[in-house]
């Protein structure tokens, strides 16, 4: 886990420096919006030496790592002139709120629709759900977002185009972000449920005279959820990735939009911090998934 974090940090660090455009120059231009042309050579050099940007990359990287481990300081923003940790703490709640709500929607809607669809296998409602979710998994998130804005904000005027704070503001971004996950979770749930319902222990439970709802809730659900949980874990990852774009579109003040802004400003420490935060959340979710999996399947618990 630590190794993963380290690798991801190194990768972002070097990738950011490969992108064309001198860091110091861009940072300066960003701070002096409107006066870009007046940036002088001395100013660039001044910035460069202040942040040691002329040192070789690996030295910069190890300096950053050392600082991070020894003092817990992961740098200071070039643009905002504030500690990165402070910026992250400021933006994190919004992202957690958006991603969390989207995930809850994905789990509740995806799982219940998947079960419903499995129980209605090959009936009309099953076919309709499958076609709809096929669109769900194949449409890119940003496109869904624009479509939702077009329909619900501009045409129907039911929800604000963008913003943060109230429940209304949450509605569209959460819908756009979760749609893909809802569809993906629904599809695995359906398949997994169908497979589970064909198992012999389901037949034996029927032979015991149990009603269908007990068979589904007690015998099928837990078994069928095992592969679904894995997919939910992966979805959480793609959800955090998707949040970067969705936050930008809806001007949602989370880590995602901070990341996009700081990439275009070459605000390296902030980029680094955002990536670190997202990856940490991702790993944390995977840890939870593993725990849950072990909890549900006694065959893993007792070997």
């Amino acid at each position: 886990m630590i190794l993963t974090l380290f690798a991801v940090c190194a990768l972002t660090f070097f990738l950011m420096n490969v992108i064309p455009g001198g860091t110091a120059e861009l940072v300066l231009k960003h701070t002096l919006v409107g006066l870009e042309d007046s940036v002088s050579k001395e100013q660039v050099n001044q910035i460069s030496s202040r942040y040691n940007l002329d040192d070789p990359l690996y030295i910069q990287f190890f300096r950053w790592i050392k600082e991070a481990i020894v003092t817990g300081d992961i740098g200071t923003s070039y643009v905002f002139k504030k500690p990165v940790l402070y910026l992250l703490a400021l933006r994190l709640p919004a992202t957690i709120q958006l991603a969390g709500v989207s995930m809850v929607i994905a789990i509740l809607a995806g799982v219940s629709m998947g079960i419903y669809s499995a129980l209605k296998e090959n009936r009309i409602s099953d076919h309709i759900l499958r076609i709809v979710t096929l669109f769900g998994v194949s449409m890119p998130g940003f496109w869904v977002a624009l479509l939702l804005i077009l329909i619900f904000s501009l045409k129907l005027k039911l929800a604000p185009v963008a913003g943060y704070g109230s429940l209304e503001n949450l509605f569209l971004p959460a819908a756009a972000l979760s749609l893909h996950s809802v569809a993906a979770v629904m599809r695995v749930t359906r398949i997994s449920m169908l497979e589970t319902l064909g198992q012999e222990y389901i037949r034996f439970a029927k032979a015991k005279g149990l009603p269908l709802w007990k068979i589904v809730s007690r015998h099928a659900l837990k078994n069928a959820m095992l592969p679904v949980i894995t997919v939910i874990g992966f979805q959480m990852g793609s959800l955090l990735g998707g949040a970067v774009v969705i936050e930008k579109i809806f001007a949602w003040p989370g880590i995602g939009s901070l990341l996009v802004d700081s990439i275009s400003a070459r605000d390296l420490p902030v980029v680094q911090g955002c990536v670190l935060a997202i990856v940490t959340m991702f790993l944390f979710v995977h840890f939870l998934v593993d725990m849950l999996y072990t909890h549900l399947d006694p065959r893993i618990r007792y070997g």
Binding site: E200, R203, F204, K206, K208, G209, L210, K222, D297, R299
Partner: protein
């Protein structure tokens, strides 16, 4: 009087353009208190009969005919009425105990639920089950209840499943291949188990097996199945002692203690059944008639046999 009467039961499964004829025109009845065996090689349709009785086949199965239990047609029952029969009046001991136990639920819950939906106190039921488990040669039943199925041995799982199927004291027990996949020691245990069930409960049993030793040991009457049809039906001692039908003869000769002479050939494809007798390709007594005409079941000295030449043998 017959407890169970099966009339012209046929089961087909759609397979692409074709249909698989799993069971064709099966008639038999099971008398109260008797143990009725169904034997035959793998794929002959034994399990499908057992599952069809309780309407446990997959939804795509095409079932025709009638199954009368106490004179009541099980195929015309509403789902709620059927649930009252399942597990209470007729219970099923499935073919594969390992697959029949839910891997993520503790054994206790899976035993207890037999008593659910029955207006019976679970604790009372559990006490009964524990007593039964002791009788069925399971040691330390209390502890066993707190384990998961995968923590038991094959023989123990078998007994546990047997206990689940018996603890409600059903009028009819359908046991599907109770000895399949067991090691010789556990197999002996299973024979002992069934003799015990039979003696102590006097229950009516439908025993599906291809273990002829077990069948001879515990069955009163036996039906022999070949390619979805019954080819011979009579007292167990007669069917296995002095078999009449050429297929049954082959089965008996293939037994280890009779020299292990295997039946040559394979049973016919169930999608396009051959004309004439279904067994004629493998039969060493076959004559011209056997290729042309499908033999009907005929009464012969108190038993039933499906062969053109039954009187010659």
């Amino acid at each position: 009087m017959s407890l169970l009467e099966i009339r012209d039961l046929s089961v087909e499964f759609p397979a692409g353009e074709n249909t698989v004829k799993a069971v064709s025109h099966v008639f038999f009845n099971v008398r109260e208190g008797e143990t009725f065996g169904i034997i035959g090689e793998s794929g002959s349709g034994k399990s499908v009969i057992g599952l069809a009785l309780l309407r446990l086949l997959p939804a795509n199965a095409n079932i025709s005919g009638a199954v009368l239990f106490h004179g009541q047609d099980l195929f015309s029952l509403r789902p709620s009425e059927l649930r009252k029969i399942r597990g209470k009046c007729i219970s099923l001991m499935p073919q594969n105990p390992a697959g029949a136990l839910n891997p993520v639920l503790k054994n206790r819950l899976q035993i207890e639920e037999v008593f659910e939906e029955r207006g019976i106190d679970k604790k009372e039921g559990m006490k009964k089950s524990l007593r039964l488990m002791k009788k069925l040669l399971l040691k330390d039943p209390e502890k066993l209840c707190d384990l998961y199925p995968h923590q038991l041995s094959g023989g123990m799982r078998q007994r546990l499943v047997a206990c689940m199927s018996l603890s409600f004291e059903p009028e009819l027990l359908i046991a599907d291949e109770p000895t399949k996949g067991l090691d010789p020691e556990a197999k002996e245990g299973a024979v002992e188990l069934f003799t015990k069930i039979k003696k102590e409960y006097g229950k009516t049993m439908l025993l599906i097996t291809h273990d002829l030793d077990l069948a001879l040991e515990v069955c009163d009457r036996i039906a022999v199945m070949y390619a979805g049809e019954i080819v011979e039906l009579d007292k167990a001692s007669k069917v296995l002692g002095t078999p009449l039908h050429p297929y049954t003869k082959g089965l008996v000769r293939a037994q280890p203690r009779n020299g292990l002479v295997p039946l040559s050939g394979q049973s016919p494809s169930r999608i396009s059944l051959p004309e004439g007798c279904l067994f004629h390709e493998r039969c060493r007594y076959s004559g011209i008639e056997c290729f042309r005409k499908h033999p009907e079941m005929k009464n012969h000295k108190g038993g039933w046999i499906r062969c053109h030449f039954q009187s010659l043998q």
